[in-house]
Symmetry: D4
Subunit: 156 residues, 8 copies
Amino acid sequence: MLGPSDLSVYLSGEIHTDWRDQVMAACETAGLRIDFSGPVTDHGASDDCGVVLLGEEDLPFWRDHKGAKINAIRTTVLIEQADIVVVRFGDKYRQWNAAFDAGYAAALGTPVIVMHPPELTHALKEVDAAALAVCETPAQVAQVLAYVQTGRLPGR
Amino acid sequence: MLGPSDLSVYLSGEIHTDWRDQVMAACETAGLRIDFSGPVTDHGASDDCGVVLLGEEDLPFWRDHKGAKINAIRTTVLIEQADIVVVRFGDKYRQWNAAFDAGYAAALGTPVIVMHPPELTHALKEVDAAALAVCETPAQVAQVLAYVQTGRLPGR
Amino acid sequence: MLGPSDLSVYLSGEIHTDWRDQVMAACETAGLRIDFSGPVTDHGASDDCGVVLLGEEDLPFWRDHKGAKINAIRTTVLIEQADIVVVRFGDKYRQWNAAFDAGYAAALGTPVIVMHPPELTHALKEVDAAALAVCETPAQVAQVLAYVQTGRLPGR
Amino acid sequence: MLGPSDLSVYLSGEIHTDWRDQVMAACETAGLRIDFSGPVTDHGASDDCGVVLLGEEDLPFWRDHKGAKINAIRTTVLIEQADIVVVRFGDKYRQWNAAFDAGYAAALGTPVIVMHPPELTHALKEVDAAALAVCETPAQVAQVLAYVQTGRLPGR
Amino acid sequence: MLGPSDLSVYLSGEIHTDWRDQVMAACETAGLRIDFSGPVTDHGASDDCGVVLLGEEDLPFWRDHKGAKINAIRTTVLIEQADIVVVRFGDKYRQWNAAFDAGYAAALGTPVIVMHPPELTHALKEVDAAALAVCETPAQVAQVLAYVQTGRLPGR
Amino acid sequence: MLGPSDLSVYLSGEIHTDWRDQVMAACETAGLRIDFSGPVTDHGASDDCGVVLLGEEDLPFWRDHKGAKINAIRTTVLIEQADIVVVRFGDKYRQWNAAFDAGYAAALGTPVIVMHPPELTHALKEVDAAALAVCETPAQVAQVLAYVQTGRLPGR
Amino acid sequence: MLGPSDLSVYLSGEIHTDWRDQVMAACETAGLRIDFSGPVTDHGASDDCGVVLLGEEDLPFWRDHKGAKINAIRTTVLIEQADIVVVRFGDKYRQWNAAFDAGYAAALGTPVIVMHPPELTHALKEVDAAALAVCETPAQVAQVLAYVQTGRLPGR
Amino acid sequence: MLGPSDLSVYLSGEIHTDWRDQVMAACETAGLRIDFSGPVTDHGASDDCGVVLLGEEDLPFWRDHKGAKINAIRTTVLIEQADIVVVRFGDKYRQWNAAFDAGYAAALGTPVIVMHPPELTHALKEVDAAALAVCETPAQVAQVLAYVQTGRLPGR
């Protein structure tokens, strides 16, 4: 009790599994009042937004650049608004943007929760060191958020 | 989805065309929830506010100075409140205040979207370099804002 | 139009005339949506709060000190929350706290409006230099605030 | 009057007496509009949260570490959101976390109210020096908060 | 010992007595390493700088305004560079600029030392409340600075 | 006296006249200790740096973009290090980058000195309103800097 | 190699043992270039500074208050100047000021190293959670500082 | 000319090639005055520092955690001191710490230069979007730094 009545949480990182849906569903089931946000999870839209919105490019570098900057508008606004940033690293892809978001949030002093499988521990040790919680599953993320808002542990 | 549910956007720059109305209308048609703000677009009021509100001046310098400072109250408050600043440069006038607003927003870390015709590219290269999107039309600005809030590209 | 829909204004300085009431009444008449705040204007309460709330003191210095610090809780919170700080200097009293508030707001980058009779111009030149508007009457303050929120000048 | 219409207050420190309930009840009786928050006051949950939420630990150091970091998510969010931080020191326990919270709030420029019995004055002199009010009872804390919001002293 | 090896101290306020010289001489005698700065103490130069440097003005308001802004360049730079700000209030003049400087320094989190005769205690209670030391004489200011740098009290 | 012993001044704006040399020569003649910096004044180098350093581009937009961003490294570092920013506007070119620098410095709270011919007053009124001195000649800029550092007016 | 060539380290906390001398001697032996600072370690001077420098007080509360505020000038300046803050907790005394300093440094984003005997682990878990290294001995503190500056581990 | 006389550059990222030596040698040959810093490039020391300095750990997670936090002391200090951060991504390893550093620097407003082979463009597009220069070779990094400090392009 006496926790934050309104909580904004940005869900950064991996966009190829349904981990965001799992976290949000678990929080909704638990009756939490959390305003979730996240990156564009439609991989095609995220990659193409620059050229679709602002015009085609011949070179892949500028094609990527235009799109990444438009996505950065969104990410900057949402991370600045967030009380907590959750960053998910998966087995696939290099996900440098996820680590970038974690560094950005850490520099702002915003609490970071990291979620990754245990076999990534050594590779992610610097990111984990900046985090206030290191989870392995969406259910753990949801329980940590529940504890932050309600002060109650599961089953107590 | 998962975008910013509330978004404050300041529309800086040119006040002699209806580009703001076009951006706002397009965003409303798209069903976006954006709180727009902007400078006083009544050119006469913007120029005269100092002497009308606080007393006449003999010298043009102080007449301008008094007015510009009152407008600065408004601009400062609105840019500080904005999540995104859009800056429009047109063919006419020097619009140094638009570039000033862009620099102010950039220093605050607020995302900047620039809109100008392509023939101004070389003259505006430093401002463009600080922006996260460079648009040519109000429709593009609206579509970028739509993507930021909804994560959806037009026609998909 | 397109001005700040919500505006927080702190009314600092002189507490022995009804200038705050005049500003607020004029803004209400003009239909503005402004959330006003200010110091405790009950002079006795403001002076006595330290010893009434936290216990008597023998020495005047500590009596004043305890009270001034409690008032500082209030002032700090309100100036931090304010979009604009209005500071009124009158003929009587030294009102160093008003000038202190102006310096505090200026350092935060919050726009400052000053109100004082013209005969104080030389003595207040440093404070005026940090202000974005220098008014003489409550009506002027209200009109400046109206222009900031609505973009309209009186009589136009 | 003219005080902060909405006020967020974080109640830090001692979790073994009902001082928070007393402060909140007194504020509610006085009709104040304050959004209170505080640490998890279930001592067991606060101590165990790390291992319950994120997995058992063999060593007490890491068991404590995991829990303290999860509690830090909550504390960081709430202190950043608070307009005022109240810190209570009691006779028992060392309560270094309470002093840590006071230092954290002071560095943010957030007003700090301290509450402790008079016999702790010498030991707490550095914390008291950073506070804007030093109270002895929950009733005093509530009265200070009432004065901050309403500008009225009790019995006047 | 173990104090700040280099210390920048800004001496704000009254310019009509030799209190700055007294503070600096006492610190030099004590062997302190302090980089002192302060406002322009040539009253005429301080008042005239605007019109002498940037051209005459007909109206006293703008004459003062131009000068006060040029002095503000100096003051802003020096207060931002200072580790400690000392503010002296005397019997004469209203010295609103001194109180402005105190508020500015307080908002930056820079420690403030105030110096004034005891009869000004009630009028300066808000400024004193924001200060970390309230002195009456230049000798006291110098001794406080000596203690800050050397950790030694006089005569010990 | 008692002015800033070391002063860093960034000279922004027009690169087609020798105004920087005039300001620096006058300050050197006056015996000032100022560390001047400024943009790359070799117009060709400034325009070409992107493609020369990082590879050719087909499109003018990206050619400009690459160069402007490299220049932004320099500008960002130098404006952050500067105690004062001087911005010069001339008759030719639109110099939006100069206004951008002024806005950037203003948002950082760094004092801005503007220099421009009087016929630009109306067009530059918003920039002038954010400046602490508006000069017309390099000699005036140098004299303002001399006053800031030495507290002495010319001829006194 | 490639470490910070100059490093400022503030040694906070316990003043009744010679742990500071041990840390500094070990760093000097290792040839490190570190500028150490710390609180006044003459307990009597630290307690008496308020009344010795600014005049006697009848009440212990104000006697402590005056002294603690003067010490706060020193502490504020030194912690703001420090790159790293080391905080030592011992068996004796409650050392709330040490925890206050740790919280202050943490809010500034300054790295904190904590040193305490293992039996204090549970009581200090919140402070440890905010630290980047938890040491037990002065030799460990010195070795961590050596590694930070030189990148070399002992015996390698 | 007129560039930054002193420049601090942090070289983040890949530690398995000699790219830092190449950048530094090229800058030294060019006569630049740059104070370089970087992470510990002795992989073993970087991995082992936690347990060597602060005691062995049974679990790999805590072994990594202790070490990563000690390295974070160093990284935090150096990135805060740096005027420019260069981040190198290579083919091997995931280098999430490099992306974390880039995000941290970006949030501080510190200019970022990225260096990576072109085949990583798509994977690094978000990091590139936050950078002011994207290089492929150490020679390019050195030339960009040379241009920032001297304003001269190679061969001109």
